[in-house]
């Protein structure tokens, strides 16, 4: 919000110097504050082609504009950095934004007047960053280094006080495991692709924030009243009771179809990992700040060798898919790994378990041998999985190879990650969903059109199955797009079914940028509860502006272009926005053959179809369809021409 005390704080870990600059009002108006301004900071301050694990990389943290207000579900903070996951054979790295909720962290940053935090350099020895309003300093963290996430979070909260927001890494981040995450306020994970390793490379163990200031809005009465109206609307949602009972443990009925890895019959999966196991394990459902839905879980393992183990976050969906992939029938054993990853090491459970699945299978097939693994037999059993998990965290022996991710398996052993059998890989990252059981809907497309190949923040109605055309259309109309755009989206195209997936995806992504800038959790848009018009009303009441929903989405488009530009500088183009090969291969399962279909299951999507959808996407973006990059005309239209010049690109290179 253009208000006094709205700052960008620069922290140089190498020198320990902290400086602050007021954010220009213009940047706020054009980019909606939050991650929008964050992307501008990335364009201005990130060095092109810098090694992500070197002091040259930066972490740019941006609490959403509305974080700390009473608007339902606005806790999100966005973190932008260059991620250390190898994104291509020639070892390029993408710059991406990841978002996180939480109860304390984002709110504390906004209250401390720290709307953008740009962290650069590398501390000579382990530190944590302590923010107490304007007092920002580096504190020695030798005693925290090597310790687990939950333990360190508790210690920092005890030391810094009960309002403290904490973002922390575990040993995976310290050891520069390329998939390592950061964990915020114990319950929320941040930065798939390796933000944790970037923090580790900077000797930055944690950020502990306290702020005492107000979160003010320009027109308090209008803002408060409309927030109340939105709350009433969410209370009326018929599924709310079920949702607040189970949080992220809800939805097995959808999940078991959309994320089916195709090895066991669904009935067996139901029995081993279904609703029953979830109900038996959930202890508490936790809400992020101002959230009236709540989805974060606190859970406890009952029975078995891990009896009594408690964890935070959401263990169910990930343990169910990886459990089937690895053939582990006791869900408690998989949840035990989730618990360790979230509360202790900070490993990314998805990538870790899938790489383990791939490596052990390759060993079984004789494509990896004892000579490759340092003498270790890679058996397909739980004990081996646990051992590999620990070896990855410590980068011990063969674990060092796996800690570098898919790319290193290819480089050293010629094992192409595109051969992996579930979900697919793009820009070096394994996806969470597979488009064959899920169908090829807009979220699937945004996995490879987005700069960082991850779905976070993009959820809309089409991620769920069996929505009607009317429902999908109503939602897009409520986003507030102009009629001619809506007509384009809903013009039938033979290659993608009843609506145009490429064009839908473009606007969905721009909406996501708006949500991230404001700090709105995408569960609210996923469930069809808060739309573009609503966000415009909130934004206007908060800032005193008078933007229409369409204008707001235009700002979202500007942010998307900023994100792309930063990545063009890193050498990314249409070549990299590739649909995973795997999706075109049918999946043979005990339930029959599954091929990739359109959303309404009317046709099988071919490579040619997917290419046409990608053409549509770039065309809708007004980008060069051949290169998949922003054109000078588009940049001019968005007022970003300065960033298109060759000079800017080489100056930064």
């Amino acid at each position: 919000m253009p208000r006094p005390g709205y700052w960008t704080v620069f922290v140089d870990l190498s020198s320990g110097e902290v400086t602050r600059e007021p954010v220009e009002t213009q940047a706020n108006q054009d980019l909606l504050g939050g991650c929008g301004v964050g992307w501008k900071l990335a364009a201005d301050h990130l060095l092109a082609r810098a090694d992500p694990l070197s002091p040259d990389n930066k972490i740019i943290i941006n609490p959403g504009l509305l974080v700390g207000t009473l608007t339902p579900g606005t806790p999100k903070t966005t973190s932008i950095t260059k991620y250390p996951t190898y994104a291509s054979d020639d070892e390029r790295f993408y710059v991406g934004a990841s978002t996180v909720g939480g109860r304390y962290f984002g709110v504390a940053l906004n209250r401390a007047g720290c709307q953008h935090l740009v962290i650069s350099g590398k501390a000579p020895s382990p530190v944590y960053l302590r923010i107490r309003d304007e007092k920002i300093e580096l504190v020695d963290a030798e005693d925290l280094w090597g310790r687990g996430i939950e333990e360190v979070t508790n210690e920092l909260v005890r030391e810094e006080g009960p309002e403290t927001g904490v973002m922390v890494i575990g040993t995976a981040g310290e050891n520069l495991v390329r998939n390592a995450l950061s964990i915020v306020d114990k319950t929320n994970s941040l930065g798939r692709g390796g933000l944790g390793a970037v923090m580790g490379s900077k000797n930055l163990k944690a950020i502990a924030v306290n702020g005492s200031g107000d979160v003010e809005v320009e027109n308090p009465e209008a803002f408060f009243n409309f927030s109340q109206e939105l709350r009433e609307r969410v209370y009326q949602w018929p599924k709310r009771d079920h949702w607040i009972k189970l949080g992220l443990a809800a939805g097995w009925d959808t999940f078991k179809h959309t994320q089916y890895p195709g090895i066991w019959p669904k009935s067996e999966w139901d029995e081993l990992y279904g609703e029953k196991t979830r109900l038996a394990t959930v202890e508490e459902v936790i809400a992020c700040n101002s959230c009236i839905l709540s989805c974060r879980l606190k859970w406890k393992i009952k029975g078995g060798e891990y009896d009594g183990e408690v964890g935070y976050g959401s263990p169910f969906s990930k343990s169910a898919t990886s459990g089937m992939l690895l053939g582990v029938k006791d869900f408690r054993k998989m949840i035990h790994i989730v618990a360790d990853a979230n509360s202790n090491s900070g490993m990314d459970f998805y990538t870790t378990t899938r790489i383990i699945d791939f490596a052990t299978k390759m060993y079984e097939m004789g494509r990896l041998g004892k000579e490759d693994t340092g003498g270790l037999k890679l058996r397909r059993d739980y004990d081996t999985y646990l051992k590999l998990y620990q070896m990855m965290i410590k980068r011990e022996g063969f674990g060092d190879v796996l800690a570098d991710g898919w790319h290193r398996l290819k480089k050293e052993f010629g094992l192409d990650p595109q051969e992996y059998w579930y979900a697919g890989i793009c820009k070096g990252m394994d996806f969470i969903y597979d488009a064959r059981p899920s169908n090829f809907h807009p979220l699937m497309m945004s996995f490879f059109t987005r700069t960082r190949p991850h779905h976070g923040g993009s959820h809309t109605r089409t991620n769920s199955r069996n929505k009607t055309m009317e429902e999908i259309r109503e939602q897009v109309e409520a986003w507030g797009l102009p009629q001619e755009v809506i007509d384009r989206i809903f013009t039938e195209a033979p290659y993608c079914g009843s609506f145009n997936v490429g064009r839908y995806t473009k606007h969905m992504e721009d909406m996501m940028r708006v949500k991230n800038s404001l700090g709105l959790c995408s569960i609210y848009s996923y469930q069809g509860l808060i739309f573009g018009h609503d966000m415009a009303r909130l934004y206007n009441a908060a800032t005193g502006e008078s933007l229409t929903a369409d204008e707001l989405i235009k700002c979202g488009e500007r942010i998307s272009n900023f994100a792309k530009l930063v990545n063009v500088r890193e050498g990314f183009s249409r070549e990299d926005d590739k649909v995973p090969e795997l999706w075109f291969r049918p999946m043979d399962t005990p339930e029959g053959r599954i091929e990739m279909h359109d959303y309404f299951n009317t046709k099988v999507i071919t490579k040619e179809d997917a290419g046409k959808m990608l053409d549509d996407y770039y065309q809708e973006r007004g980008w060069d369809v051949r290169t998949g990059t922003p054109t000078p005309e588009k940049l001019k239209e968005l007022g970003l021409e300065k960033y298109s010049s060759k000079q800017n690109q080489t100056a930064l290179a």
């Binding site: 700390g68 508790n154 979160v215 709350r231």
Partner: protein, 91 residues
């Protein structure tokens, strides 16, 4: 109906802090938990939270408690029986 007393049900609290934000808004027109008359008791190990309303500063919003209206999870409810107590905590 005028509400004469509040009951806090600690086990229902999910830590969303809507109560604090609503309280600071009705009292000061800003969002700031520190300007509400509710202190959030955060149990560090379990991460459970319980709102503690400061009875001397709370005026029950003149009979229409904003915190109660804002609580999405039924952790702050109206006291319909013990009207002589302004704030009760269910144990």
């Amino acid at each position: 109906m005028r509400i004469e007393g509040i009951v806090i049900i600690p086990s229902m609290c999910r830590g969303c802090r809507s109560c604090q934000l609503a309280c600071s808004y009705v009292r000061h027109g800003v969002f700031n938990p520190a300007k509400s008359v509710i202190v959030m008791d955060r149990e560090v190990e379990t991460d459970h939270t319980v709102p503690v309303i400061l009875p001397l500063s709370c005026d029950l919003c003149g009979g229409n408690p904003a915190c109660l209206r804002a609580c999405p999870y039924g952790a702050i409810v109206a006291n319909t029986e013990h009207t002589s107590y302004k704030i009760l905590v269910q144990t």
